[in-house]
């Protein structure tokens, strides 16, 4: 069985920012996902959701859970990441003034996601960015 959830995320909407990842966390807790994995998914889902709010033109966050894995997928409609290698570097950020004023934009979003996920893939073009992260529920 697979649990599937979709959360549309609006660009620049700081009022609802964080609600998708909060719901993801609640779902996982109800499914009995344990501490360590929960923490990793919490951090990664919050980062990826905030990335959609801060950097994208809007998109959707998707959650898929089966008994072996949690998969988070983020798809947006642009503007794309020109240099992924640069964006993967710790401390590099393109966040604008507004986001930085809210305490975001420390430039650790992508590397932080990669560190917390067991599998991480990213593809980007001006038409949009797609990030997929996998988290193993069972010890490998």
């Amino acid at each position: 069985m697979i649990i599937h959830r979709e959360y549309p995320v609006q660009a620049g909407d700081y009022i609802t920012a964080g609600e998708a990842s909060a719901d993801i966390k609640r779902n996982l807790k109800q499914l009995g996902v344990s501490g360590k994995v929960l923490k990793c998914v919490s951090v990664a889902s919050y980062e990826v959701e905030l990335n959609l709010v801060i950097h994208s033109l809007g998109g959707v966050l998707m959650l898929d859970v089966d008994s072996d894995r949690v998969v988070l997928e983020s798809k947006d409609i642009g503007p794309g990441i020109p240099d992924i290698d640069l964006a993967m570097r710790e401390g590099y950020s393109t966040a604008n003034e507004e986001a930085r004023n809210q305490g975001f934009g420390a430039g650790m979003g992508l590397p932080n996601m990669k560190r917390n996920a067991d599998t991480f893939s990213i593809a980007s073009s001006p038409a949009g960015t797609c990030i997929t992260m996998g988290f193993n529920l069972k010890e490998q």
Partner: protein, 438 residues
């Protein structure tokens, strides 16, 4: 001890319960249901924070504590006053008056928990120097917050500092010192915590992070307040009543007292259980990883706001602040420098049992079954009005859907659904009546 059958100090007085929704809507772990016109507390979800005791207008929620009589079950009795007890006596200038008063009501000796707090201050201060520990480290002092983490934030358990509560450190040392003084056996001595809250009472009976509590019982501040009040107002003290805790130890009675004692440079103190939840969510998202120490207190104002205190919590907080200031003027040596190093190695300061996750939120032990339940739950939740009115006896529409899936109630327990159903049925009856006439 099994988490599902563990001891609870917070109980329901069935005769007083009106079956209203006050406690239901206020419980931070959604541990209360109203069924058949009476509230019920779900054992494995309740964290004994005492919010329901505070909110209930009918005093139907009570805290079970040990009575003062129980101290006679021991040859000797030592009182462990929580520092918040000092806040109960307006404009108290000297803790000695309280210590003296406690000895007048039947205790053979008194050991200030604020002294335990001094020792714990030094122990946590040392822990904070370990760069391998997660940030922020979370205080272990408020048992309601620790149990909240076990239920709602299991992923934050590794953040909880593994130093024992001041009450436990004080109890251990109190027994050693008393036996030395009197030349008696440890079993002859009963050590009793004077508690501001049910959470500590529960922590004595079913300790967290510790195999067994060193405390023999907990007596409610409210029970002895009346007796102490007139004695304290006499402002009497003798040689044996001399207090020795520092201003910092006494400061633990109020919110931010601990945080400023262990890490004034970079700590955050939050009081009120619902506020704690909001900040723990931020910690869960890694948003506060630049913070070194987090102190959370379930009660507003810290321990001075406990459900078993008498004085208004803001007034009590002010009393503690003034008392701390005065103590600091007399002795400005911080406990990190005044607590002897050899004492630190002589007594047990750290947890000897793991803090377990409490899976009370999970829908089923079997994840496949949990998934099926979750999908059914979502379908039901989508059909509910979303008012979160509590009329069905569950705190929110979502928890109602969960209760249906778990088999505790039926969809027609929702009065809004019932009304809709009645409307349909009424229409059907009208239709039926009309068909017959034709």
């Amino acid at each position: 001890m099994d988490i599902n059958t563990r001891y609870h100090s917070v109980r329901l007085d069935k005769g007083r319960c009106k079956g209203c929704t006050n406690c239901l809507l206020h419980c931070p772990t959604e541990a209360i249901r109203v069924r058949n016109g009476r509230a019920h507390i779900i054992d494995n979800k309740c964290i004994d924070c005492g919010e329901c005791i505070r909110i209930c207008d009918y005093h139907a929620k009570v805290a079970v504590t040990d009575s003062l009589e129980t101290i006679h079950g021991f040859k000797y009795a030592v009182a462990l006053p929580a520092p918040s007890l000092y806040g109960q006596f307006r404009n108290l200038k000297d803790p000695a008056y309280v210590i003296w008063a406690l000895r007048q009501i039947g205790f053979d000796d008194v050991f200030e928990v604020a002294r335990g707090a001094d020792i714990v201050t030094r122990a946590i201060h040392e822990k904070l120097r370990d760069p391998m520990l997660p940030r922020p480290l979370i205080s272990s002092a408020c048992p309601a917050v620790v149990r909240l983490i076990q239920v709602r934030f299991p992923d934050l358990i590794p953040h909880i500092v593994d130093v024992r509560q001041p009450m436990e450190v004080a109890a251990h040392l109190a027994r050693i010192e008393f036996c030395k003084k009197k030349g008696c056996e440890p079993d002859d001595v009963g050590v009793f915590f004077i508690t501001p809250c049910p959470a500590k009472m529960t922590a004595v009976r079913s300790p967290i992070g510790q195999q067994k509590s060193d405390v023999d019982g907990a007596i409610s501040m409210l029970e002895i307040y009346g007796k102490l009040r007139s004695l304290v107002s006499r402002k009497q003290a003798d040689e044996e009543s001399r207090p020795s805790a520092t201003a910092w130890g006494v400061g633990w009675a109020q919110s931010s007292g601990e945080a400023t004692a262990v890490c004034p440079e970079n700590s955050l103190a939050v009081d009120g259980i619902h506020n704690c939840i909001r900040v723990l969510e931020e910690i869960e998202n890694n948003k506060l990883n630049d913070l070194v120490f987090f102190e959370g207190n379930a009660c507003t104002g810290g321990c001075v706001g406990g459900p078993l205190t008498f004085e208004n919590n803001f007034v009590a907080k002010n009393t503690i602040r003034k008392l701390s200031d005065e103590l600091r003027e007399k002795n400005s040596v911080h406990p990190v420098n005044s607590v002897p190093a050899n004492l630190m190695s002589r007594i047990p300061l750290y947890n000897d049992a793991p803090i377990a996750e409490n899976p009370a939120l999970s829908l089923d032990d079997d994840m496949e079954v949990a998934m099926q339940k979750m999908e059914r739950m979502n379908k039901i939740a989508a059909s509910l009005p979303g008012y979160d009115c509590g009329s069905c006896g569950s705190p929110t529409c979502r928890s109602f859907a969960e209760d249906i899936v778990q088999g505790y109630c039926g969809e027609m327990d929702c009065i809004h659904k019932l009304r809709e159903q009645l409307k349909i049925m009424a229409q059907q009856m009208v239709d039926l009546a009309q068909t017959r006439r034709e």
